[in-house]
Symmetry: C2
Subunit: 187 residues, 2 copies
């Protein structure tokens, strides 16, 4: 039967996620203990780690990589590496599903004020970066330039995301678009 929205596992995970974000918002990420999260969710510490590989995984999730490769591949190869990377991400972003509302903002907002989490985000970007690099190289870009361009682009977008989360006066889409423009040289 599938009457529930998710099995027991899914429900436990959702509870852990929610309790964790609550605690992070109220008393800070570093000050919150995994034991506290587990208790709030009515579960054992061990169970927490069965749902999240590490404490920071509550906030930092894996990215949606696949789309990016195609988008970058579609860019004309006459452009400069950075410009091409940016153009690819612009296209990729346009194709992405609208991010699910509230939770994204909560997460990013927490990450924005927690240095150690910013590091976690950077580490997480590594896989996306690799995809970008591969795609650029496949199109004939020098590997070193490709690395630099990919790293710079992702860092720029990440910075825009962190900034966006702290303000209420701008849509996520616009924030990213503006960041890409900055990287582009369009402004």
């Amino acid at each position: 039967m599938e009457s529930e929205v998710g099995g027991r596992r899914a429900r436990t995970r959702a509870r852990l996620l929610d309790c964790a974000l609550d605690l992070f918002e109220r008393q800070g990420y570093e000050q919150t203990t995994v034991a506290q999260i587990a208790e709030a969710a009515g579960v054992t510490e061990m169970t927490f780690f069965r749902h999240f590989a590490a404490k920071d995984r509550v906030v930092v999730e894996d990215p949606y990589d696949p789309l990016i490769a195609d988008a970058v591949a579609a860019q004309p190869r006459t452009l400069t590496p950075l410009v091409r990377a940016v153009a690819g991400l612009r296209t990729a972003w346009a194709q992405l599903p609208e991010p699910q509302s509230q939770t994204v903002r909560r997460r990013v907002r927490i990450a924005a004020v927690t240095p150690s989490l910013r590091a976690a985000i950077a580490a997480n970007n590594a896989t996306t970066e690799q995809i970008l690099v591969d795609q650029l190289v496949a199109d004939g870009t020098d590997p070193r330039s490709a690395r630099v361009a990919a790293a710079a682009t992702l860092a720029g977008i990440t910075a825009a995301l962190l900034d966006w989360s702290q303000r209420d006066d701008i849509a996520l889409t616009d924030a990213v678009a503006a960041a890409l423009d900055t990287l582009d040289g369009r402004r």
Copy 2:
């Protein structure tokens, strides 16, 4: 008397640093225990932490920030944020003292193959990034664009550094110069 090159403290620190890098190179960063480092240096675990605030501080050190601000300030404000940031760093880099040979390369090389250390580097860049942002904003750049430009530039340079450490066919100066060119759009 001052016959020694440094007091006891300085010597202990040097020993710890050397033993740590040795162990990291031989058996990997993650696989090396602070206890092992301490023992190799003939010292207690506690003493290690009295010299390095954290294990990763052996590899990731604080940057030379001060120069950057001035260099960026000297750039004409007609340029695009990213271009100006890059131009500033180009100038700053030219003024930096030649990095002390071997140890830099050892450190960066270790960082290059250790994901968790890449994160530490990113976190460490935060302060330099802030300086860059402040300088750009002071010159009239929109704060958001400044953040993006600063983050992108530093990420690009960092990527170049990591890449440089893994090859023997290029000078550090050239690697950085090339990265700046990529960010610039000069290539």
